[in-house]
């Protein structure tokens, strides 16, 4: 155990720092701390250019080879990369589905034509959304009902998706459909690649509790999708649901934990500005969240070390990492709530002179973290069953 990495890895860190200094646009720096909520587009031009720049310089997904936007970085270097970006609060992309889920899924499960679509997905030239959740299939995703029936050389798709992030700006959708209703629910699901402008698709944005819309409902009415757009085997789509960047699994926690740590620092500043640094209750509350954020950061690193040697959590991650999403999303929500409270009566102000006090918006938005990608309750089930080995409920 030691605090620093090898000289070679530290040189990698320095090269990244130079690149960011030279190329990163001002809009991308400290992005989540000062989000441009009034932006006319959820996918502004600077963000598309920035993603392409990262790809072209081999800094988009460092663990990939250059033709996929990387530089064959080692796992340690990938961790360093994620931490350096997170420390500066610089996003790689404003639409995660393409590079993080679709690209890797195409590469792992696609035929030659489909694999050829991966570079554009990772570079962001093609904007993707993922059709998973449905009104009756949220945490129980395998219960999805959107039906795709073969008719000649086409699938005919009917049904409805919901909470589909970026659907209103996407070119393509990686869509989970039921191709066989007569078998156990996990065994009748397939994945189709669907052009969002296909006739019969109706995208209706859903406004968030924070105000703007970032995701949408997507309705499918007799949408014809060529059979060649099937990704992977027929009825074998469930295994594609675990698709994500395998070589970044050891660092999925980095962004969330970095936001927690940066937010604790902000809370210290706010408490000082409000003259509350001698208030015993606030001092202990802030010390307690500092303790949690620091120990989670350490746990993420401990899990990273365990990846190479220890047992897996069943999804390619270390047991330690099963805790991370639950812990940092719950912590972050609490931190934003604490920020509102520190502002006193101004915590509820949304306009005028108090408009720069964005705690309420971040608090509202933080529910995305405790709900999306497996709710905190589902995360606890996963920890109990996969890590602690407790039996499944009836």
């Amino acid at each position: 155990m030691q605090l620093s990495w090898s000289a070679e890895d530290e040189a990698f860190r320095a090269a990244l720092a130079r690149f960011l200094e030279e190329h990163c646009p001002p809009e991308a720096r400290e992005y989540t701390r000062h989000p441009d909520v009034d932006a006319p587009s959820i996918l502004p031009e600077w963000a598309r250019e920035w993603q392409a720049t990262l790809f072209d310089h081999g800094w988009m997904v460092p663990g990939y080879p250059p033709e996929l936007g990387g530089r064959n970085a080692t796992p340690v270097q990938t961790l360093i990369y994620l931490e350096e970006l997170a420390a500066r609060d610089i996003p790689r992309s404003l639409h995660f589905p393409g590079y993080a889920i679709v690209g890797p899924s195409l590469l792992e499960f696609g035929n030659a034509d489909q694999r050829a679509m991966a570079p554009a997905a990772i570079r962001g030239d093609t904007v993707w959304c993922i059709g998973m959740s449905e009104p009756n299939a949220g945490s129980d995703l395998a219960g999805l009902q959107t039906r795709a029936a073969l008719d000649g050389d086409d699938f005919v798709v009917n049904g409805q998706k919901v909470w589909t992030s970026y659907a209103m700006v996407a070119d393509k959708c990686m869509c989970y459909v039921r191709t066989n209703p007569d078998v156990p629910k996990h065994k009748g699901i397939s994945v189709l690649i669907v052009d969002v402008d296909t006739p019969g698709i109706d995208v209706r944005p859903i406004r968030h509790i924070t105000g703007p819309a970032e995701f949408a409902e997507v309705f499918f009415t007799d949408v014809r999708v060529p059979r060649a757009n099937l990704l992977g085997e027929l009825d074998a789509g469930w295994r594609i649901t675990t698709g994500s960047l395998a070589h970044e699994r050891g660092g999925l926690w980095v962004g969330g934990v970095a936001r927690c740590r940066a937010t604790v620092d902000e809370l210290v500043e706010v408490a000082q500005r409000r003259g509350l640094e001698t208030d015993p209750g606030i001092r202990r509350d802030i010390a307690a969240v500092y303790e949690e954020a620091t120990s989670l950061w350490a746990l993420g690193h401990k899990g990273f070390a365990a990846l190479s040697s220890g047992p897996s959590d069943g999804a390619g991650g270390a047991p330690e990492h099963s805790y991370m999403k639950l812990a940092y999303s719950e912590l972050l929500r609490g931190l934003f709530e604490m920020g509102m409270e520190l502002e006193g009566p101004f915590g509820a102000v949304t306009g005028g002179d108090g408009a720069d006090m964005v705690w309420w918006r971040r608090f509202f938005a933080s529910f995305a973290g405790t709900i999306a990608g497996g709710t905190s309750e589902i995360q606890r089930n996963i920890i109990a069953q996969r890590v602690l080995g407790l039996p499944r409920g009836a």
């Binding site: 605090l3 990495w5 210290v268 015993p280 010390a287 690193h301 330690e320 309750e377 089930n381 409920g393």
Partner: protein
């Protein structure tokens, strides 16, 4: 930061695990509560490892975490975690066993360098059973004595004996110690105690998970109920993150890193909270059997709470941490 254990560290951990599982069964821990001499056989084995007190804190923590899992009694903790580091700071050759007397009448450990001027020293671990006692006095300074009358303090924890002693005024001269050197010794001790605490917490977690798998009610193991699963998931999270915090702190102390004081407060608070959380929910999830004297669980709860209160409670460490975060120290 690299949490990977070296081959030597893995071997050390496995050796400690095997040794303590064999030589420190729970029956020995129970016998020791009635007759402290029952732990003498264990000490013969542990005495071969006292030099861990002089080296890497990470290594010592790997050993003490295992000691905490089995509630190992005796002078090993005080000797390795407190006494030997202090002797090293003073440039003295250590005796075979030793302890330090740091807390004054208030019970508070002098992490800030302000040693109590009162004559009483409290919570002195194993004071009647060690070769030397090193007493902290204002200055700060240290008086090293070989034998002192020690009055047993009855605490929750039947597995760790603590005592009250009087500072022998005027009879001995104190050796000076810088506040920074004192702080380093106490930092090491707090991290070492935290390592024991996460061992104890993990053992409670393991016992409770095992019980939840085996105990059947309503025709199914109680561990299949979400109310039970979610409690255990939260308990496990606290144990895991506290463990990581302890080894992070140990690494910062070993490296003399500028973050070490914050990291030490984080480690003790995280470990204390994890252990008391595990103890509370552990007893609760065991139901009626956990409420009995016969079941071993209460021995672990006793250790968890007594250690949470020793060398600064979680709330106290949070308060010191707030001083560092807000720049309000001193």
């Amino acid at each position: 930061m690299n949490f990977a254990l070296s081959d030597e560290q893995q071997l050390l951990r496995e050796t400690a695990r095997g040794l303590l599982a064999k030589e420190c069964p729970i029956s020995l821990v129970r016998d020791h509560a009635e007759d402290p001499s029952s732990a003498q056989g264990l000490w013969k084995h542990l005495s071969e490892w006292v030099e861990l007190g002089d080296g890497s804190l990470v290594d010592l923590c790997l050993f003490l975490e295992q000691a905490g899992e089995v509630l190992a009694p005796g002078p090993f903790f005080a000797t390795t975690a407190l006494y030997r580091p202090l002797m090293a700071a003073l440039g003295r050759t250590p005796a075979e066993t030793g302890t330090i007397a740091a807390a004054g009448a208030s019970g508070q450990w002098p992490f800030t360098g302000a040693v109590d001027g009162n004559r009483t020293r409290t919570f002195v671990i194993e004071a009647d059973a060690v070769d030397e006692t090193a007493i902290l006095v204002p200055g700060p300074g240290v008086i090293v004595t070989t034998s002192l009358p020690a009055r047993r303090m009855e605490t929750l924890d039947t597995t760790r004996r603590v005592f009250e002693i009087d500072v022998p005024m005027g009879e001995h001269s104190a050796e000076p110690l810088s506040p920074e050197a004192l702080r380093d010794v106490l930092d090491r001790g707090a991290v070492a105690l935290s390592a024991e605490l996460v061992g104890t917490a993990r053992r409670i977690l393991d016992m409770t998970v095992a019980y939840a798998k085996e105990r059947v009610q309503f025709d199914r193991p109680i561990g299949s109920f979400q109310a039970v699963q979610h409690k255990l998931a939260d308990m496990a999270l606290d144990v895991e993150r506290a463990t990581a915090a302890v080894y992070y702190a140990a690494m910062t102390v070993d490296a003399d890193d500028p973050d070490r004081h914050r990291a030490v407060h984080v480690a003790k608070a995280a470990a204390g909270r994890a252990a008391t959380h595990a103890a509370k929910d552990g007893i609760q999830l065991h139901g009626g059997i956990g409420y009995t004297w016969e079941h071993d669980l209460h021995l672990f709860m006793r250790r968890a709470y007594a250690s949470e209160y020793l060398m600064g409670t979680s709330a106290w460490h949070h308060e010191r941490l707030a001083d560092l975060l807000f720049g309000t120290a001193g």
